[in-house]
Assembly symmetry: C2
Homo-oligomer: 227 residues x 2
């Protein structure tokens, strides 16, 4: 693995994918001056439910999942963040404790931008604030859409959706049946039975724990059935 070349945001390979891509040199230097680079191994916890945010996490590589405990004591996968994405901004901006736990799903490189730095940037860089506004607005949409799905779509459709999203996000990650269940808001047993069903329909194939999508369209069809 190459050594982390994170002396400067300007040379970060993920800069162009981040919200900070359009910052002027001077603002980037401010970022550089205060950010703290950090590295997490697969499985390590980045922050815990209940913690108070100390800053914003910006991923330069890897994959992080944020899960939250529901009323039945099972975890639900709230979001996935990959390189170029930001993590922990919701709680930071709302000035609330984290309500989810962030775990490195793969080896992850990230920078922590201290609270004061990011708030100062947001105040001095209107374009940056607007980018955050736009992103959170989109996530709010996704969250509400997902809520609608949870009450109205059968488990099969939610499993299909989870499959597509997880595969899209990172296909080389070893997603377990439980990961799928946590996204779909159901149990592992239901996921297994549903996957067996999908296989019978020739929409996917399973060898061992691997899942291959054979007909993406068929899955999409049951996610959003055309009336």
């Amino acid at each position: 693995m190459e050594s982390p070349k994170h002396n400067s945001c300007g040379t970060c390979s993920s800069l162009r994918k981040t919200h900070f891509c359009d910052l002027q040199k001077k603002a980037l230097e401010t970022l550089d001056a205060f950010k703290i680079h950090s590295r997490y191994k697969k499985g390590q916890v980045i922050f815990n439910e209940g913690n108070s945010p100390i800053g914003l996490y910006c991923l330069s590589s890897g994959l992080v999942k944020v899960t939250s405990l529901n009323a039945k004591g099972q975890n639900i996968l709230l979001r996935l963040v990959k390189e170029g994405g930001v993590l922990g901004y919701r709680s930071l901006l709302a000035d609330e404790p984290y309500y989810g736990t962030a775990i490195a799903q793969e080896d992850t490189d990230l920078c922590i931008i201290p609270k004061e730095t990011i708030f100062s940037l947001l105040q001095n860089e209107p374009a940056l604030a607007l980018k955050f506004l736009s992103q959170i607005s989109k996530e709010l949409h996704q969250a509400e859409a997902r809520m609608l799905g949870m009450v109205s779509k059968p488990a099969g459709a939610r499993v299909a959706e989870a499959l597509l999203i997880l595969k899209d996000c990172l296909s080389n990650t070893k997603w377990t049946r439980q990961d799928i269940a946590e996204w779909a808001g159901t149990t592992t047993e239901t996921v297994i039975r549903t996957l067996a069903d999908f296989e019978k329909q020739q929409w996917i194939s399973q060898k061992g724990r691997e899942i291959n999508i054979l007909s993406r369209q068929s899955l999409l069809d049951i996610v959003s059935p055309e009336i």
Copy 2:
């Protein structure tokens, strides 16, 4: 009914409850210059799912509900906005069409702030942008918490929650069993059976279509049961 004294935001009775409360005189004058006052009677549609946002709605009085159609064709109540609240900002900021329909639940007075005006304000008033960031972040939390509840809490708990929220929001509004069902993500029949149950437990009383909460604590207990 008094005539709408909406010549100026500075004299608006709801100003202090809005995100615009801390604006300097000059910025308020900009708002005044471009805003359009409008009035909706109970039941009237303010915007429809699929429409493109033309501006931001700021309520000076009344109550608006935003609902969205789910996969089974039933409506789900997404949010309630009362005086001082803003409406339609999510789609505006994300630059997406509305995915919900806004209906005046009561006679409503509001001002439409054109898209250009609000974006210009957000760029020139960092504090305003931060307020919006904070609000949307909180709503994202609520949406995700609600999603967790939808998959993990039994219908009874969701009905109790809906009761509390709808009553809190405006107790003098005539909420129907269907309104409750739309918030709880269930059917009117289940709501009725659940309410009958609550009445038997002496947590509420029903006379005709009226519902009175007798023991708020008991309802809270089943919403978030202490383990």
